[in-house]
Symmetry: C3
Subunit: 374 residues, 3 copies
């Protein structure tokens, strides 16, 4: 999955010629990981991209990656980028209060407020306004009045479980007000009840991918249900983020822990030999190559579980190590993280050259927890 | 025209030492062209420059280059930059409605609206407001009341034929309203009648460069008239852009086809041996080195003509190939496109280190059509 | 202080193998300096950072470095960055009119207005408003009513002598109105009288670092007073900037010349063997490594003095040369300038990886005057 790098070839040849190449080989492994993360972020910063605006969910997911990278490394290079993103966004959310996607970007703002030394620097008013409207005011999705019938709950698609709940958890931590967590839990349960396939222990992307809903069931060529890798990556990655900041004694915490463990086990079972998950979890042959965004979220979530005592270290470490090595091999020499499926809602192919900011975010998330395993 | 690259030297030496250097030499030619274009854009994005604002013509011409690069490659790296430029400009034109320069930047906005999947994402109101005022409302240039007497028509300088007409053509395509093309044609004819030298088949930059206008005729040291390379590049490049989107059955299309063919032939005749045009077309010895902005526009225009059946492939391909190879040799290792004459109105020298965003734009335009010749 | 660069190692090995590596070794020294400066700026532009906003003093000090780099090289790459910074700041100062830090950024705006060909392009209104309020309207610091008693004059900390006076000098040059210089002189004298230690010929950072002020004197482990390298760097660098633009016949000029010469001599005496000053001038052993921001300002100031006939060339050149070589060795291969002490108010350690925009600014200032020594 990696392009030929003439410079590495050059170094290699020199080795063959018997020359010693400094201390490159002795570089600490963690230093290599951090460098890969920095290069990923630097490339992404040089190539700004968004669906509609720097305040949208694509940039939000990327920003979460930067946030966790800073948290793990305390390297100012990530902090500077995080502050710059927030400042240039004027600390705004995106504009649809009913849409979970439009508050993802607040994760970084909240983290800064909670962790930076400069108090009251971040303007949290737009985030507060958004969350109060999102959670406590009526909208067509909540009320099930949208003309598209599958949009009948607030978070009617599984990606939403990454987009809003970790932000809400951090907001509850910031305010100390558990009513936000309580409201989150109610909506989370709606989505869980609607989209979680208990037999497969995976989330349907939305009702359209469930059987018995539409006139004709959507299925893979092999006859199986469609379970999208990134979609489940959003959920499992979101669970790790939620658990990271949810109070240990929060009354519903056990639900999230159990769901996290169950899905983590299932995802590990589904890991392909080369370490990277395919875009269609139950039909890997559909597009038989690793995909980075889903795999990045899984790697992050599994490593977080090991680091926080929710998963058995001996059991999960080989899967994590294999996945991270494969993720690093998807990074180009210039820092670009390839093999990212484009914006979508179901399994589609990726390529060595396909990239997205949220794919870079997934890469940063994975690296941030792998770093902590050492 | 290229700096020594120690890395290439290194590779070369390794070759001499008998070592094989991977598959670098087998790289497809088109891939090399696209990579050169990407590096040019990346360097330019890292070095923002403008005359007065990112909405001005310098950035507009650069943005047209990115637009056509995306159109030719469908590489998301160009699309992301294009959206980012438009978003950060808030889809605004620059502010002088009477000035063709100030609407160039709308070319990219219109292209996005016409070609991106996200409809109504681009805000075309500023462009509409500008074009309606520019074409249909009075101003001192149109009325010939400017105190500088050579500014006696709307488009009194030949550069204007690149700055506004391609935007107007795209706007007519977007709206389907031919009144925009009709108005454009009227103003275009004014400029043609005023500045086109039928004997030399070249445009004077403005009336000051015509003989018999001022007390003392401006002339080159060799006694010839001053015909500026970039000025004629604006015209010929603009003609290719206009023809690219003008309806095949538009009543005045033949005028543009004929003018395009006549100028293309003349420009080919004037091409220096090394492939790159000098800044003074009839006095190449004035500054006897290739210049990239004019040459880029010519290369783009000639290649566009071959690709679209207006020019004979066998006859024009050698000139295009020679020009493109020479253009690529003006790109530095870091991606910067050098040998670009600075902002001006007449032939002046360039240097290996002189660059401008519109020079990068010309380079991208040239590459985008050369890519299509394969 | 420099990381191993495998590429250089590679080149070196090839040399050992008897191969000639082009003309790299014959490169003019000034070209190397300018390239180092360009790479420093490019890296910094790729890594925007600020304390609270791009209009704050950190970015202001960086922008002064770019300004002087352009002035010394006339390289458009610096001019483009300077215009871009100003344009994106909308030519605004930061917002506290009583605070010297918040007008530093206007230095670049004023330079552009004075030196660029496009007159009235820069909007100087925010700067004018700031300076009139700062110098001629009451505020708690001026009046000594701040609850923190050491903030009892307008410029109560020595850094302020870099932050505002060079801007005021440039503003006086722009307007030709000496009342600005006169007001500056009054406030400068207050700071000089309050914080200058005539015995040590160094500035205390603020009253807290003077003895006999607080209940318990602050002192280094070696028992000496705390004199902060960057703090004195702000003062000496600021003096060079002030003298650069203060009229030769200004009535108080002699005071600044004398202070400049006295401090320059002292700083030279205190230079460590390896060329770079430690963060604690009288206790180098506290953090026994060179620090780039203070050293950069000193190198700039000393070289400026030689170039402008205030310091003896033979006497000062060795110190400047040694310092500049050591500064260049603190630059990473990717252009990043390391070994910069973070934001602070007293001596603290730096590291190979610690960087700040004002550190890059100090590097650019140093390079800009070293360039002129050749």
């Amino acid at each position: 999955m990696k392009k030929i790098n003439p410079f590495k070839t050059c170094l290699m040849l020199l080795c063959i010629l018997g020359a010693s190449i400094g201390n490159a080989q002795q570089m600490a492994n963690n230093s290599e990981i951090e460098k890969a993360m920095i290069r990923a972020m630097e490339w992404q910063e040089d190539h700004p991209i968004f669906a509609v605006s720097p305040t949208d969910w694509t940039n939000g997911a990327y920003q979460i990656g930067i946030t966790r990278a800073y948290d793990a490394t305390k390297n100012q290079i990530f902090l500077a980028a995080l502050k710059n993103l927030g400042y240039r966004n004027n600390w705004n959310t995106h504009d649809r209060f009913y849409h979970a996607d439009d508050v993802t970007v607040s994760y970084g703002y909240l983290y800064l407020e909670l962790n930076d030394t400069r108090k009251n620097y971040v303007d949290l008013k737009p985030t507060t306004t958004f969350l109060n409207a999102h959670l406590f005011e009526p909208n067509p999705w909540k009320e099930g009045t949208d003309k598209q019938k599958f949009k009948k709950i607030l978070w009617w698609w599984c990606d939403a479980l990454f987009m809003a709940p970790p932000v809400i958890t951090l907001y509850a931590k910031h305010t100390g007000d558990m009513k936000y967590l309580d409201a989150m839990h109610d909506y989370y349960m709606e989505t869980y009840n609607l989209l979680y396939d208990k037999e497969e222990r995976l989330f349907a992307r939305d009702m359209n991918y469930q059987w018995g809903v539409n006139e004709k069931d959507l299925k893979e060529e092999n006859g199986k249900k469609i379970f999208w890798s990134r979609g489940n990556g959003w959920v499992l990655g979101g669970l790790a983020l939620i658990l990271n900041d949810m109070p240990e004694d929060y009354k519903h915490r056990k639900f999230y822990v159990d769901l996290y463990k169950e899905m983590a086990k299932r995802i590990k079972e589904l890991q392909p030999e080369d370490g990277l998950w395919r875009t269609s979890l139950l039909s890997p042959e559909s597009f038989d190559h690793g995909e980075v965004s889903g795999s990045g979220f899984y790697t992050f979530a599994l490593a977080w579980g090991v680091n926080n005592g929710l998963l058995d270290k001996a059991e999960y470490t080989p899967a994590i190590t294999k996945a991270w090595s494969a993720l690093m091999a998807c990074q180009h020499e210039n820092g670009m993280v390839g093999w990212v499926q484009n914006i979508g809602a179901d399994p589609q192919p990726a390529s060595v050259d396909s990239w997205q900011n949220f794919g870079t975010g997934a890469f940063l998330l994975a690296g941030s927890e792998v770093l902590r395993m050492k």
